[in-house]
Amino acid sequence: MEHSLTRPSEVIRSEALGSDIFRLTIMAPQIADTAQPGQFVMVQAASGQDPLLRRPFSIHQVSGNGTVQILFKVVGRGTRLLAATTKGDFLSVFGPLGKGFTLAKQNKNIAMIGGGMGIAPLLFLGKWILRSGFSGKLIALLGARNSAEINSLQEDFNHLGITTAIATDDGSRGHHGLVTQLMLQHMDPGEEWQVLTCGPYPMMRGVAEICQGMNWPCQVSMETMMACGMGACLGCAISKPNDLHSYQHVCKDGPVFAMSEIVWK
């Protein structure tokens, strides 16, 4: 049985994109070959037993030569350990896991809306959309704390030819405010749009509200605590709408859901 756990994966490159944001490029051909945008990997941060559990990260990019990238912010012990890895280190990376984004067949315009580290899967998604021969309008609306956090990411999107608009919390780049406030500026209500979003829950709720109002289909990528990432522990449960006594599981049924599949509170 050959899969991504058969042997550890080599870190090819480690970049700091700002003071607490890092990007790791990892050699993992089995993942790179089969990954879909919106899927994630479970990465073991420690070589010992503390921290014990793997950490979930969206697949940020894959390449034809077998590399996979993750983009993450340091928020605790696991991410601090991962930030300290350098070229030549080995990591156990398990994946690809979960259900990613799906594209509606019609050539509607597509808006990718990301906040914070929720931007991570959107670069892979953008490439995927372009490679699929999509001929509509494709834009990325990206929210960040400040200019330093978003500078090089914005370049990556622009490099692919994707139009971007930026919102920052401190106004140091683009719109001073929320990324949701960019939607109606950049998405002509007279046109048909399809929205694909990943970011903090309140941001995605705001995006979903606008999409409901405009009758635009919208997919959201959810986050929960995860122990296994593969449907075994049942720890990643979230409520189902219209059926408050049963749960769906983010790692298996998601992380990407249609906005109508989520209970927004």
């Binding site: 014990l52 559990l53 156990s92 398990f94 929960t224 995860m226 075994a232 522990c233 049942l234 749960y247």
Partner: protein, 307 residues
């Protein structure tokens, strides 16, 4: 003397296992989830997620949180219920040639008995593991597992319902686990398995709220191993029936320690979440250990602790 293939067979009542490595209930789904990573038929047995007569939705989230060298869970025994298990989950395990042990739970003695009756007679079920210990459900497990008399009554009720081998799974959240073990032995259990999770709690100091929606949850993983090992050792001395060791087992070395303490078999739990291949890795490791130590049979290892 060169040992080529040590004998790993063990027995729990009339249940014959090709080796002592099993999966712990609730950490291995219904088996199928792991089929791409583990050769299910090579394991001693697959113990499936706890099944109740009716499906259960489980607890509201957040359900899990990591703690030092372990995790807390309050899944709340989410499961598909007996009918869907038999119709949708068991056939896969049979096809995969797995030895299946069904972990069962109930709210009342009648519940346990009815469930055992329902499961009895279905091809492909090799034994039942009776969860009398889950700390998560308010009216459920805990009352049975912490009281010797109740624990014995549940065991007797299940014994009446089926002649399948019965393993009673014990909670560590008691003052004297040997008293419970003796009670279920008297009730007709073919074996006991231990430990289930240790009741614990996590608090977020920023919000001054419990991390789990259920407030309390069960602790598992390497953090509980020393407690589990001690309890297995005590119970192995207190009862005649085989003991199945559970708690923080992550490696062959961990498993071997439990066998030395007196466990006839072991179950791997939380470690499946970190590496889904752990069970098979442990199986290979035990076999290697026996070869290195020139033991032709696992029986030489079981209970070999020298104090």
């Amino acid at each position: 003397m060169e040992i080529e293939k040590p004998n790993l067979r063990v027995k729990i009542g009339s249940l014959n296992l090709q080796n002592p490595v099993m999966t712990a209930s609730g950490t291995f789904g219904y088996g199928e989830e792991f089929a791409s990573y583990v050769n299910l038929h090579r394991l001693g047995a697959v113990v499936v997620k706890g099944i109740s007569m009716q499906p259960r939705p489980g607890n509201p989230p957040p359900r899990i949180v990591e703690t030092a060298c372990g995790m807390l869970n309050a899944i709340g025994l989410e499961n598909v219920g007996a009918e869907r298990f038999l119709a949708e989950k068991l056939p896969y395990l049979i096809k995969a040639n797995a030895t299946v042990i069904v972990n069962v739970l109930g709210d009342s003695i009648d519940d346990y008995q009815a469930l055992a009756e329902r499961l009895h007679g279905n091809d492909g079920i090799s034994a039942l593991e009776i969860n009398i210990s889950c700390p998560n459900v308010k009216k459920g497990g805990v009352a049975f597992g912490t009281n010797p008399e109740m624990a014995q009554k549940v065991t007797e009720a299940v014994r009446k319902a089926t002649d399948l081998p019965i393993i009673v799974k014990l909670t560590p959240n008691v003052t004297d686990i040997t008293a419970i073990a003796k009670a279920v032995e008297a009730g007709g259990a073919d074996g006991v398995s231990l430990i289930n999770t240790l009741l614990g709690m996590a608090i977020d100091s920023k919000t001054r709220r419990p991390v789990l929606a259920n407030v309390v949850g069960g602790l598992s993983g390497p953090a509980v191993k020393p407690v589990a090992l001690r309890m297995v050792w005590q119970v192995a001395q207190a009862v005649e029936i085989p003991v199945v060791g559970i708690g923080g087992i992550c490696s062959a070395e961990d498993a071997i320690e439990f066998l030395i303490a007196g466990a006839t078999a072991i179950e791997v739990g939380t470690a499946n979440f970190i590496n889904p291949r752990t069970t098979e890795d442990i199986l290979v490791g035990i076999s290697d250990y026996l070869k290195e130590n020139k033991m032709d049979s696992i029986q030489k290892l079981i209970g070999s602790l020298q104090t």
